[in-house]
Symmetry: D2
Amino acid sequence: MIEQLVLPDVQQSEDIRGIELWKVGVKNFEIPMQLTQKNGEKQSVHAIATMSVGLSKNRKGVHMSRFVLQLSEWSRSRTFELDLRPFLQEARDRLDAQSAHVELDFRYFIEKKAPVTGLSAPMAFGCKFDASLLRNGNEEDYRFILSVAVPIGNLCPCSKEISDYGAHNQRAFIRAQALLDTSSNAPIVWIEDLIAALEEAASCPVYPFLKRPDEKHVTETQYENPKFVEDVIRDATLVMRDFAGIKGFSLEVEAFESIHDHNAWAAHRENFHETS
Amino acid sequence: MIEQLVLPDVQQSEDIRGIELWKVGVKNFEIPMQLTQKNGEKQSVHAIATMSVGLSKNRKGVHMSRFVLQLSEWSRSRTFELDLRPFLQEARDRLDAQSAHVELDFRYFIEKKAPVTGLSAPMAFGCKFDASLLRNGNEEDYRFILSVAVPIGNLCPCSKEISDYGAHNQRAFIRAQALLDTSSNAPIVWIEDLIAALEEAASCPVYPFLKRPDEKHVTETQYENPKFVEDVIRDATLVMRDFAGIKGFSLEVEAFESIHDHNAWAAHRENFHETS
Amino acid sequence: MIEQLVLPDVQQSEDIRGIELWKVGVKNFEIPMQLTQKNGEKQSVHAIATMSVGLSKNRKGVHMSRFVLQLSEWSRSRTFELDLRPFLQEARDRLDAQSAHVELDFRYFIEKKAPVTGLSAPMAFGCKFDASLLRNGNEEDYRFILSVAVPIGNLCPCSKEISDYGAHNQRAFIRAQALLDTSSNAPIVWIEDLIAALEEAASCPVYPFLKRPDEKHVTETQYENPKFVEDVIRDATLVMRDFAGIKGFSLEVEAFESIHDHNAWAAHRENFHETS
Amino acid sequence: MIEQLVLPDVQQSEDIRGIELWKVGVKNFEIPMQLTQKNGEKQSVHAIATMSVGLSKNRKGVHMSRFVLQLSEWSRSRTFELDLRPFLQEARDRLDAQSAHVELDFRYFIEKKAPVTGLSAPMAFGCKFDASLLRNGNEEDYRFILSVAVPIGNLCPCSKEISDYGAHNQRAFIRAQALLDTSSNAPIVWIEDLIAALEEAASCPVYPFLKRPDEKHVTETQYENPKFVEDVIRDATLVMRDFAGIKGFSLEVEAFESIHDHNAWAAHRENFHETS
């Protein structure tokens, strides 16, 4: 690159502190990102990226612009699949690094049908890809965590039991982090399928578009199906354990109680550790 | 001040664009702030301040450090009352300005009793002081807007009516901006009283601490008292119209629907205009 | 609609409080939204919508699902232009209302070239459409406010003047609300043009992708062009006054000072009032 | 408690899913919290609490009100020290649980002197206590993580090197999580000392109150002391390694670049794992 002929390259200079750094890169860089939906169509999402590499102990810094260049090029010409190995290998090569990491946060639209009238509207779900590729001697350690945030309704079993009529219910969220099986023949974990499966753990799912027959159905379904956050997270745990392609998981359920200004909350994890 | 002997004062230099500016100052400056509660005791709150003055058209800039100095001095030694005229007059004098403005955002604790057991716990409410002092020839235009955000529960009348059992309910917020009567003999508008009055517009208030008899009461009260956001804001409007010491108001009601991931919302204002 | 044959319509019932409400609707509803770029191409953005109508004093409530239905239909089949009159007229008809309002918040991508190397990458800008249509007797009052948030760099003139070398600089934001001329023959105000014009008020614009020759240019340009927030907002005021198609405006400049944890801030408005 | 005589206790009922839950409790509960400053004085902070216990596999739920009761009682009558073992033991007893966890987020004020004039003002720092107590057979596993977020200024070495004059600088944050030595004779890690030590890793600290001689000093100090985020995090790593009372740590440095709208970022951890 031309500027390296004329301008000093401070990042390339040597560092004497002898500290190899875990992650160095860019945060909060926004790009349009093409995704493949379960139905085969493409969806363009607005992604907020954090991208980094490990920095060897004798190098002063990384060339940050290379992250932006790669993210921009992929944004223009590539589709971001659940397998981000090629993306991370390219990052390691561009940055001359042993490890690379990327986090992509985005809102993903799914067309959702009302339970009775069947009328549909788009609904946005918070999702995240979190992938790492590390060289361990001759080994390659590749990890991929798919996160989804699923809004639901939950109705309090205690309130229903102790009250002569009614029961407090509220909007709640199931937040799941799925550690995916990245072996070559592992089944694909579609965002659409993971969200649909987790909605089964609710008192009732929520919907973007409801006419009165739908609202009647949702209200009565919630009442027939009371669940504490403890019940929701246990049922979500059974979902995650059985989900083909998921090796481990972390779950959080948070209910925005309609009788308090604070939230009921539960967290659980199995075979899960934070991103390496 | 010593540095003016040795260092040039760029802010004092003349500006030729001929534009008098509405507000120039500091934003997001945090201070501990002493408030007087209705019961006479002091409460120390964590305030986030935005403070500014008008800038005359021939002056290049203001001395920002003077805002920080005044806020710090008041934080140490003064109580912030609902009457911020002395604070704003001091700001105008320090900055040699015609107008001064201050916004103080804070969370305010009120000890709240459960409706049946009477057991109590502190509950935090979002509050804001927004005050302005302008010179209009020989006139002084002083305005004070008190804002409170009141979490409540609301239960949907439609859902109750069309369903064989149950009714969806959820946490909602009433956000009120009260334009206060600042005449010398106007009654004091206590935060405690304004919040309590607005809670009357709910299907049922929310509480920090509820035992089962309290939860039964809250659940049944919500069910007996169904309200759309339209009902809540109309009842809140009646509250604000009748509240001694309030000349005008802006209201917002937002319900975090337990059957949707979007919110039901209403806004209404009477005799209200934005801060001058 | 079928459910009206079988289920009671509570919203349609009469209200006796006699309060006509300013705005009733939905908040925080997310949709994909097609926009036309200045270059004629379409951009799909992720919009967060607040949509409402006025409610007459004798009606208990509105049918919220109709907002969702209209937003979904437009999301699928229509392009959202700067003229939202047809959208608001349709809302008034669907909801049988005298007034309609819509706010659409979104991040908008603009391909931005580095100043020396000319290499480009997408950069996201916060934008908002805020439109209202009111019936005043035989008159129609239509208003449209276009908002943009423009990140920039600013370098402190005082710091440069008093220091033997260097000068503190920081990321800052120009936030502009433009009240558009909505007469039939008014020029179109392109987001791309408004942002580019406002960047001229900075010490130097910011860029997504910079190689070293670009970084040298940006650094030196900032140093040659020191500006207080007062200078930035005055220059932005001159931009807004002269911008064809803009009748009034509100401006805010906020600098995330690199010598403080609080921000320098200025606000100014001309021929501007909040949304009706 | 009286209501247990008259109302069924659903939480106490048996669960058949056989899933022991990691954490069940309340989130986002706000309380005033008394802390002891290094100088021995008390500071009342506004804490946002997440408090939970482990739930045995045969129990349906926990009694959420007991968390609120304990937090309220401690808020009234106790000081929250760096040793939260008594707090967590009480939680386990109240909830009849094997493990207890608490997170307390708060802003902490430190009086900060300007570097030349010595004039001082309060400055708020984001802090967090995160403590866990688990029973492992006869063992007790107690962990405490102290987190602080330290705003600083950093100046880009590359920009300084390649530019004829000036250098871009910006506000940045050092976020540190310190895993404390909780042995009986371990030294106390004062928030004041940890923040002061981490500020040494900056190009220059930031201050709430600066007069012109101070601003000159800060500007020139930044220029004399250029640092990439890589340099800041390496110097912060040396600080954390040598800090008496800290056994392990996680660090993040994020710089709000004044030449970009995205951030430069680095993360590093040693002898650190997430809360058990």
